[in-house]
Symmetry: D2
């Protein structure tokens, strides 16, 4: 029951790495909203594989087909469903994985969970490929948020221990050369959100964003504002004093990352997301034969990214946009 | 809509810092389950205020009254509701805060969100006091998990930059002496969970635990396994190889923190939670008069913890237990 | 998981007939909303037992205590929780029922479902007494709807086969004299709802109202507009033609009961609810000893209503008000 | 937010009468479950149009394409999504309806709800055509239930006031000849469900089935067991006495329709559903021009059923199966 997110902008993601298609059903796109397909396609292109030397060579058009809910670019008010055909699947590349789980992937717990019936090739429903429909839903949310004056922007701030773009790319290239992989950190900023969006306790902006962002494969941590660094500060250092800015109450600093008590403060929401190094590496690894229950060596063939962080940047924007737009609608019904 | 968590072990927390009572309604306690009230009370005592020199002097019995769902210590199958009376509220201590929001607290966004109608004294529904009913629900979940062979244990691993217990306490004492506060990090471990618990995408163990844990006030970050450190590792370092242990498949290391693809791997689930320094400090702070929209100085009087981290340890256990038990029930219906 | 209803005005009902208390937690009461306690109490009085010769002699104050979410009669925006103490329980009256299920009651399936741990006396969580917290939540919803120009009114239109008030009362009195009971039909009307409230498919006004109304014990049927009689009509008879009324589009008749495609049409929502005769009767009945698995005769002692229909009238209003207000909030977030 | 139903077998229906495709996403098909496509197709054929002289001439293959979640006929554990292309739409037939709402259809409230952006042709998301994906999800649920020993069977018991099959068909033919339509009643029976399935209050079997069944267009009433007739009975007549049958406790009659307190009693669940006459009739009707706000005459051209009841029979089975299987899974997690 993990494929649905949201109460007001509710998305249901479906598909597997090598099924006929993947896609998303969205409830909550307001009737009459224009969907800018060109802008959406440009957004999707940012996560698409095969763009440059730094990501996987698997090439797919990844152009979503909208099955319903949109007519002449305008939302009808009915659920919007878009699918993306899986055209270039080469499942044979994964054939040898069926019985030897890849370290760092979901293969082994999925085998137990689904009794061996899960689509083993390419990660099945756990595949990073499922971030494509996430980005379809997120790309639409970004457009809807944009019209409400809210922007979401993310960027890689660390890859393979490097913080400068050129050095990040060099780290990726080095990892590729070693048949290894690197991880990194993405930082995102949500601007323009009114004060008081979010709900107490389990409905806070941190809870909502975290629940969405951990839906992106390889995410292992999230922190808001000072985050883990706040644990080292004193209250007098970490508290954001208030002042009057342009006649309005506003926090004068933003250690809180724009959230207090789960509610938006009017300052930008700032959060960082930790991505582990992509587990698909070319190096030989120790694994097991799950049937025989014997040790086995594994060499993962096929195409893989030495680093998912760059492609994950729009995914973080998408997940955040979905969470923020859902929270904004929740707030709206009280107004 | 933020006060409800869970689909299978569903809790609805209610109350405000100075309302007549606080409490929790729980659906999903199995009929026939024994609730060990003594063990529950001992668990609640760990978060209760006024235990030692290091926490707030506010003293309350915090003994929950069970209104329904339990008879002679045995769950009846009906919803379990427990309340805790607010007996020692001294709301006058907070009187001067009504119009001058405390930096670092929810006061200002709550004022906007609730149009000034929220219970301003003591944080209202945002109060750390609401962790008492969280611990009631979590304490029961811990008992139910324990009978299924699953344990949850947390401890403070950093306070005020210190990692040794005695130095942590010294850091708290120093903060108190300065009318300031310190934050810290709590690490938790869930042991004994079967392989394959959790759901793909938004229902993963990370998503579930994060959504619950961010419901504890002052939490600003969460990471699983290597967490943010994983971003610095290579795939070959971060992947956990598999081996055969006692005849079973098992990861031979635990960089993943016991979770892959959102599913439990059989290794302990390990996560760390960052707590900001408690925002209630005795030092004078810059704030504003929200009505007059003029700057104002604020000195928060009354009782406050210079550090919530020690009392937060059982809260982290409670939140994790609720999330894990809910996921375990989700899994059960497939078996 | 049946005790929670709604997405936007979400109620969680708890308690058992003979537990310490029963009550309801409500999320979604707008901050700043005034709760008219006198009006609420007057509403609750309509379902309270012991009012006249026609209902049970069990007398309880049934005055809810509001634990939180309301301050000086104004909603704070936090969840509102109200409890009603069970003061007059006489559980001994039900002692002989523990092992011999009452025909027409939930006793037997509840025994199986809850493994014999359910509170057997007085129906436990299945008791009609749980309609008291339903009416607390519904009474508040009625007030909130009233301020939006929406009214909900129900009345008994049939009792024991009679349609005239005096003859209905006579039928009840006759049933009482025979140690028997009678059922009836309640008709409700929701006026003032704007056009277009409700959602397609499973979120239609019929779906929503039915899901809430079947939460009242003893309800066995619901129909909207012409209902079952529509099955006998021709399309040309049952369709409501449109006309222009006071400058606006309006249906000129109301066979549809104010709902088309699940959406409100602007005409009053009209529905009827069938109540079975109350199963608690004084006559000797055939039952079984569940332990011995042998036939047993049962005579139910204690106090019981020969007819719940009159007391159910405000319960139908409450359930409908909760459903309608929840749908109205759902609509609001699109505006 | 009306297109999703269920917590454990959760379906999300999408599509519009004239969109590119319609379909359904299903979470909760157990990994390893075989889907019998031939049996599913035979089930779908029962609701398909164009089968005989009694239903609409619109002919469509209505063969679902499974996009994911099934491999070689076996469920993988990932969400199952199936789509049906809309190949024969002839939207021009509906062109003249854009501004003149059809009496008895959702056209007018949908126009208000969706601001005129809804897909007007053929009923959009309100179209009876959406029962095709309902039947896909229901057909799979029927197979899963069947393996658990539970069957669901429905049949028309009244059409146009007639109760004999031949006379029902004659009534339909007569209505067609008059360019009119007739309604009817479908009765369904669920057999083999264990005792104690369902949840108290809003999660009762009646609540669940009603919420699902009102998702079928044209349904205006539902009753369980004696239903509205129970309102005319005495308690001593309506109560089902218990006896020992084959060594087990069992109700000796079934006035309750297999449900007490929302829980299954072990007796068959019996319910009846009232269908209004299909609102699409060839006769001239009074309507309005919504833009001009002037009266208008309407003649609906194109193909329409003079009676949907026969095609609705499998839809009732589908809706009931979805509700019952969802409830069964809910129960399973307690075992």
């Amino acid at each position: 029951m993990g494929s649905i997110y949201g109460q007001n902008y509710r998305i249901a993601i479906f598909g597997e790495s090598h099924s006929a298609a993947i896609g998303v059903e969205i409830e909550g796109v307001p009737a009459g909203a224009r969907i800018d397909f060109a802008a959406l396609q440009a957004f999707l292109a940012r996560r698409a594989p095969g763009q440059d030397a730094y990501s996987t060579a698997r090439r797919e058009a990844d152009a979503p087909e909208f099955l319903c809910g949109v007519k002449d670019g305008i939302a009808t008010g009915a659920p919007v469903t878009a699918i993306i055909r899986n055209t270039d699947t080469r499942s044979k590349d994964y054939g040898n994985l069926a019985n030897v789980p890849r370290p760092g992937h979901a293969d082994y717990p999925a085998e137990v969970r689904f009794g061996g019936h899960q689509d083993k090739s390419g990660g099945g429903h756990f595949s990073g490929r499922l971030t494509a429909p996430l980005c379809v839903a997120g790309g639409i949310a970004l457009q809807l948020l944009g019209r409400a004056g809210v922007t979401v922007q993310a960027r890689a701030i660390r890859i393979g221990g490097e913080t400068e773009p050129e050095r990040m790319k060099a780290a990726i290239a080095a990892a590729r050369a070693e048949c290894d992989s690197v991880g990194g950190v993405v930082e995102a900023e949500v601007k323009g959100l009114p004060v008081g969006v979010g709900d107490p306790m389990f409905g806070g902006m941190e809870n909502r964003i975290a629940q969405a962002v951990f839906g992106i494969p390889a995410v292992k941590g999230i922190e808001f504002g000072e985050g883990f660094a706040a644990a080292e500060l004193k209250g007098s250092e970490n508290n954001d004093p208030y002042g009057i800015v342009s006649g309005n109450v506003a926090p004068l600093s933003n250690h809180a990352g724009g959230i207090l008590g789960g509610l938006s403060t009017g300052a930008p929401i700032v959060f960082r997301v930790a991505f582990k190094p992509t587990p698909s590496i070319g190096k030989e690894q120790d694994s097991v034969d799950m049937s025989a229950r014997t040790p086995a060596k594994l060499v993962v063939k096929g195409r893989h990214d030495p680093c998912v962080v760059l492609r994950a940047v729009p995914c973080v924007e998408a997940a955040a946009a979905i969470a923020v737009y859902d929270a904004l609608l929740e707030r709206k019904k009280e107004l």
